[in-house]
Amino acid sequence: MTAPAATAGPPGGTESSAARSAGRAGIRERTLRTDRWWIPPLVTAVGLAAWVLYALVRTAMQKYYWVDKYGYLTPFYSPCLTQSCVEGAAHFGRPLPKFPPLVPFGIVALPFLLGFRLTCYYYRKAYYRAFWLSPPACAVAEPHAKYTGETRFPLILQNIHRYFFYAAAIISVINTYDAIEALHGAQGFRLGLGNLILIGNVIALWAYTISCHSCRHIAGGRLKHFSKHPVRYWMWTQISKLNARHMQLAWLTLGTLAFTDAYIALVASGTLSDLRFIH
């Protein structure tokens, strides 16, 4: 009465020979899961790939990054430090020479932001599962014959996450400055929908940055005796609450970044007119 075993969902394949060895149950299927386990990694892969593609196109565009009338600067081009940059958008001067085509104006900050997200403990889980299939889902065999984890170059570099966190915190300060600067017009305080979007994005960025596991460790996690450090214990407690939402914040900020940039691009190109509340 032995029934043929059903393999759940694509992709197929069988488990590795290592897994079949050592007296284990000789089950040939890669997994016996019957749920659609392949959906979360697929959604992650599509979501991340779409975002990276959008960011690549937008950063290489070298235009529609600044709305002079309302002082909106997209976070993808901040800080704008090149001679190629429109003068008003360069909040911190233009010490760098003109950039050739396709080179992102925000090149000074972008590698650090990319590094922060690449080494982030949440994104690591996301891309190890979605792109490297290591593993694609829990209790689903991975396709690789060998595995050394994060013990060797280049993945051992994941250990410098905290330095990218420091850099990301500085860049969040710059983004905050950009958002506040946009509120000051020639006639004083001004407010439009774009300002609200910029401020919302900055709040989300701070929430994501502060909820970082390295930040949680630095703030208090590394201590042995919380009772001797009440302020750091309080900070650790608050960051721990945010940290439990790190995945949601990671996706939220991808959304707010792309949305903020798209809104500013549409206003800058004249496709959309900004909804103004004050001036």
Partner: protein, 253 residues
């Protein structure tokens, strides 16, 4: 409501098959039952020689770990009401460990790893009975004391599940929470636990894909509260030049 369910249960060589196979059974299911109840009914009615390890039937002894429809679960905590009446339910032993018979696996790998961890070490001069600590200092470690040693996390972790050859070098999530429990303990005086976690337990092999946390029946936040904090502590001692410099300048350990 009583109904007949279709079960496929892994039987080792020598039971009904020559080299181990999934065997079909049709078995009665009553309202409120869990998978372990059905396995027991199989033993009582159709397969008297079916081997299954169990003890408390309350999700606290960690004995009845197995895989139900491919997911690592406690048999006694998996309600039949979570499945459709027409669903075929597949029960297999833990796939990362050698099978002793049917659903019973040899989990001695875990005991070997447990023995390798240096025991709790109080400061010199503090005798048992003199331990005093504050609740906020010890509460992080207490989360990890909830572990019932069902080894579902060990079984699910792809580092050993998919790579038998990694077993000598990798201790697994259950023992990373033990490492974190001791390293965070306010009265543990050993200072080499981070080094041990990296060198002897193979913490660097973990790629934090969180399956251990997903399957934990005690809902211990294994990855967020133990593995990642331990990885960060290893970074403090191994990879962070600023912390290293600070410890030299201020002579802190």
């Amino acid at each position: 409501m009583t109904y007949k369910a279709e079960f496929r249960v892994w039987r080792s060589a020598g039971a009904n098959t020559s080299d181990g196979a999934l065997v079909d059974y049709t078995v009665e299911v009553n309202e409120g039952e869990v998978v372990l109840d059905i396995i027991h009914r199989l033993q009582a009615t159709q397969a008297g020689d079916l081997a299954v390890r169990w003890n408390c039937k309350a999700g606290k002894c960690g004995s009845c770990s197995a895989e139900v429809n491919g997911k690592p679960r406690l048999l006694c905590m998996t309600r039949m009401s979570t499945f459709g009446e027409d669903e075929v339910i597949t029960v297999t032993p833990l796939r990362a460990f050698p099978v002793i018979r049917d659903l019973v696996t040899d989990v001695s790998y875990n005991y070997t790893k447990a023995r390798q961890i240096p025991a709790f070490t109080p400061p010199a001069g503090v005798a048992p009975g003199e331990y005093r600590m504050q609740q906020i200092d010890v509460e992080r470690s207490q989360e990890f004391r909830k572990c019932i040693e069902c080894f579902l996390c060990q079984n699910t972790c792809h580092v050993v599940r998919d790579h038998e050859e990694n077993k000598p070098a990798f201790a697994g999530p259950r023992f990373f929470i033990r490492a974190a429990e001791l390293d965070m303990h306010p009265l543990d005086a050993r200072e080499d636990r981070k080094d041990f976690a990296q060198r002897e337990q193979g913490m660097g092999m973990c790629n934090i894909t969180k399956c251990c946390t997903e399957v934990c029946p005690e809902h211990i936040k294994i990855t967020d509260n133990a593995i990642i904090p331990m990885k960060e502590r290893v970074v403090d001692t191994k990879y962070d030049p600023l912390v290293w410099l600070g410890s030299k300048i201020f002579r802190r350990s």
